[in-house]
């Protein structure tokens, strides 16, 4: 049993959790302001592709990340435009974002990259000074900057959401657009910004996929991670710290599943599929309120007709 639960497992868990957590931060921003963003998956995929393609074209991983985030923000803008200006159904618009990203990324990949080259990726940080710290040192001493970001960002977002005027306004907009407007808050502007940032963060998660480990883009790279991120948001009760904790949990399950590959755990043969489905199962349970209620912002997803 000890062979399974070593430091490498947890390092792996961190890596696997990173895209989930980063995208989940995006999801929280959007949903807290009142806009359902199912399109996280598509934004992640687009970020992965554009980030990689830009890194190839520009020869620099960080520039690639930036371009990827811009692409995600653009998709976010599209979603915001549709839901706020045209009062489209949030879910339909989100699905369209996913479709657009899925189609466009493969289209462009096949059209322009017959043999997809490796890009200059984003290298790991050695962070040697962390080594002596027990536990933390082993976990973080040689990790991608994305992993570090994943651990830092939730605190930043938490501070922004709960301790600044901006955060208060965002939360108010998500609870009641009507009452927020009465209080003089520009709900539309807040929503546009939050959704665009949401797309950018999901795309950032995507660039981690394509620029951190393999430095290449493959079709369908996001592989449902955007939806697990959504699950993490729900499971974490729409809070940055909660969602990150959920993402870490899901990442751990993934790491465990990869390590075990059907071997026994505590004497029981646990098929990897069971571990892989756990995040989804748990989210359903959370939504069904079987273990306490997970309640979204009040105005989430509402389509209003006029003022």
């Amino acid at each position: 049993m000890g062979e399974v639960f070593d430091i490498e497992l947890f390092r792996s868990a961190l890596r696997l959790a990173t895209p989930l957590a980063l995208a989940a931060m995006g999801g929280i921003l959007s949903e807290r302001s009142g806009v359902v963003n199912i399109g996280l998956e598509g934004q992640m995929l687009m970020g992965a592709f554009v980030g990689w393609a830009a890194a190839v074209a520009l020869g620099n991983g960080w520039l690639g990340v930036l371009c990827g985030m811009l692409a995600g923000a653009l998709l976010g803008f599209l979603h915001a435009l549709l839901t706020q200006r045209f009062r489209a159904n949030h879910v339909v618009s989100g699905m369209a974002v996913n479709l657009l990203a899925a189609g466009l990324t493969v289209f462009l990949l096949r059209r322009f990259f017959a043999m997809p080259p490796g890009a200059s990726g984003v290298p790991e940080w050695s962070l040697q000074w962390l080594q002596p710290i027990p536990l933390l040192g082993g976990l973080l001493s040689r990790q991608s900057p994305f992993v570090v970001l994943m651990l830092v960002l939730p605190f930043v977002l938490h501070g922004l959401l709960y301790h600044t005027m901006w955060g208060l306004r965002v939360r108010a907009a998500g609870e009641s657009a009507r009452k927020s407007r009465l209080a003089g808050i520009d709900v539309a502007a807040i929503r546009y910004r939050c959704v665009m940032w949401s797309g950018a963060l999901a795309a950032l998660a995507g660039t981690y996929l394509s620029l951190s480990q393999l430095n290449v883009f493959t079709e369908g790279m996001s592989a449902g991670k955007g939806f697990i991120a959504l699950a993490a948001v729900i499971f974490g009760r729409w809070t940055p710290l909660g969602a990150t904790a959920a993402a870490l949990g899901f990442g751990f399950l993934d790491a465990l599943q990869q390590r075990l590959q059907g071997e026994t755990l505590f004497g029981v043969r646990v098929p990897s599929e069971v571990l892989l489905s756990l995040p989804y199962l748990l989210t359903i349970i959370a939504l069904a309120g079987l273990v306490g209620r997970s309640i979204p912002p009040e105005d989430l997803g509402k389509q209003e007709e006029g003022e």
Binding site: H163, M165, R169, R171, A172, A183, G184
Partner: protein, 520 residues
């Protein structure tokens, strides 16, 4: 209060129209500093509209608002608050899931990424809270507070911005009597401090006990502006009946039609309600132990200011809301907790107060709407062979009988005008004699001729054995159509008037609590 006291708020010739309704028609009101000025009137008189204009919720179509003799034009309540004008509206503006403190900080102007001024606001709020007698956990969600506490938080919001003009719209609608007393004590204190208070209410007792001046609105116009007392704490100079008469208008001659009267066809009541209680929700009073009987052949009216419990009564009778106490019997059978389908089967028919919300499906055709509620009956075919043709035919009969102007029976419901839509909804309920008709504002949006037609149809149905419960804000309708009229006030059925007592003045007075009913 002398004529030297400066005028703080002056609203001049305010006009506001919503669609076909002129909500405010050249209204002019002046309020002096340090006074409690009441604005009274029936439903639809225009009180809330006027206050919303003052508070910047929407602009007037024409007319001007002056604050301290300076013209102002608020584009949002935030701007009004800036200028020192604050309102606690009927529908509370607190966001339930945010904490009390967060709600207080919400309309602040802090720069986006500035830290939330938590301690600052909390300290100041604590000071003010002691003054107004509020004890609350600042970090608790606003929704967890009692109604009185929430109201105090709303007041606190205004005091934090040092609002000098305070507007209250139906403030005691859901307050228990003790809290209401405390509330008025607070108002007097504000007045003493030199703040100006506007009080929108339909409860005349409050006006008589606490206001300095009163403006009566009726049908969007100012009917009268009267001083209530010379000095604070002096006895009132007007009496309740006078005010009630101003509010509902003169007894007068009813438009050319004779009263439609019927008689009971049986000694056994068809509908019996005992001790019906429905809990209050947000700004609604709920129902508090209402009992009544309706006999076959009779039309029983329900009068009352909006929010007095009518909606809850209708919902409970239809089976859409479970009462917490009490019983409902239909022809002797207990249907208190029966689902709507059971009641429909027993012949209960419903004319919804809000046809868009409950009464019809706008995207559908007239024909399919005509069948709504009746879809399981044999007349449209069997379970597995619903006939659109028969629905059309049924709709045609409704169209014919009620002179509905519709392009065709299968035209989209949304293509009809509001009045014609209402006729379809009414016709659907009356095409066959129902056992019990529950009607909420049945002639809303209808012209005189159509209104008459509907009234006759209801009467005819009752003549053939039906009985009806008609809820209406239109006193004329209640007077001409109903045999007896029950008055709801604050969730209670305070009296039932019939015969001689069934007069405008009497009902009006009961509606506004000017007189205590026989049952109260």
């Amino acid at each position: 209060m002398s004529n030297d006291t400066p005028v703080v708020v002056h609203m001049e010739n305010i006009c506001k129209r919503f669609g076909a309704v002129q909500a405010n028609n050249h209204i002019t009101v002046s309020v002096r500093q340090g006074t409690i000025h009441a604005i009274v009137g029936e439903n639809g008189a225009g009180k809330t509209t006027l206050m919303n204009i003052l508070y910047g919720v929407f602009p007037p179509d024409s007319g001007a608002v002056y604050l301290y003799a300076q013209p102002v034009r608020f584009r949002s309540p935030a701007e009004a608050l800036q200028a020192g004008v604050g309102m606690v509206s009927q529908h509370y503006a607190l966001i339930p899931r945010l904490s009390v403190l967060e709600n207080l900080m919400l309309s602040g102007e802090g720069a986006s990424f500035s830290r939330l001024p938590r301690s600052q606001v909390r300290v100041r709020a604590q000071e003010l809270a002691e003054v107004i007698g509020l004890q609350a956990d600042w970090y608790a969600p606003a929704g967890s507070l009692s109604v009185s506490q929430q109201q105090k938080v709303e007041i606190l919001k205004l005091l934090l911005r040092d609002a000098r003009v305070l507007v209250f719209d139906e403030p005691t609608a859901v307050l228990p009597p003790a809290d209401a007393e405390a509330f008025f004590a607070l108002l007097h204190r504000f007045a003493e401090e030199g703040r100006t208070v506007l009080l929108v209410t339909h409860k005349l007792q409050e006006v008589l006990e606490h206001a300095d001046e009163v403006t009566v609105l009726r049908a969007g116009e100012v009917v009268a502006t009267l001083p209530v007392r010379e000095k604070p704490a002096a006895p009132p100079q007007v009496d309740a009946r006078t005010l009630a008469r101003l509010i509902v208008g003169e007894e007068g001659v009813l438009p050319e039609e004779e009263m439609l009267q019927g008689k009971r066809l049986s000694d056994q009541p068809r509908l019996r309600v005992e001790g019906l209680t429905v809990p209050p929700v947000r700004s609604r009073a709920g129902l508090k132990g209402v009992s009544l009987q309706v006999y076959p052949g009779e039309v029983f009216g329900i009068a009352g200011v909006d929010g007095s419990g009518q909606a809850e009564l209708i919902d409970a009778l239809m089976g859409l809301v479970p009462p917490t106490q009490g019983h409902i019997w239909l022809d002797g059978e207990d249907v208190t907790h029966a689902p709507p389908a059971v009641r429909l089967r027993k012949g209960v028919r419903y004319i919804a107060e809000d046809r868009h919300l409950r009464g019809a499906i706008l995207e559908w055709s007239v024909a399919e709407n005509a069948a709504l509620g009746l879809q399981r009956e044999d007349r449209f075919g069997s379970r597995f062979s619903l006939s659109f043709a028969r629905m059309k035919e049924f709709a045609q009969r409704i169209i014919h009988r009620f002179a509905v102007r519709a392009p065709a029976a299968d035209a989209p419901f949304s293509a009809l005008s509001g009045g014609n839509q209402q006729k379809v909804v009414v016709g659907r309920a009356l095409m066959e004699t129902p056992a019990l008709l529950i009607a909420g504002q049945p002639t809303r949006g209808l012209d005189a001729a159509s209104t008459r037609a509907v009234h006759h149809a209801i009467r005819d149905a009752c003549g053939q054995g039906a009985c009806a419960l008609v809820v209406s804000f239109d006193l004329d309708e209640l007077l001409t159509l109903c045999d007896r009229v029950g008055v709801l006030f604050d969730g209670r059925l305070v009296d039932v008037v019939a015969g001689e007592r069934k007069r405008r003045e009497e009902i009006g007075a009961l509606m506004v609590g000017a007189v205590k009913g026989g049952r109260a």
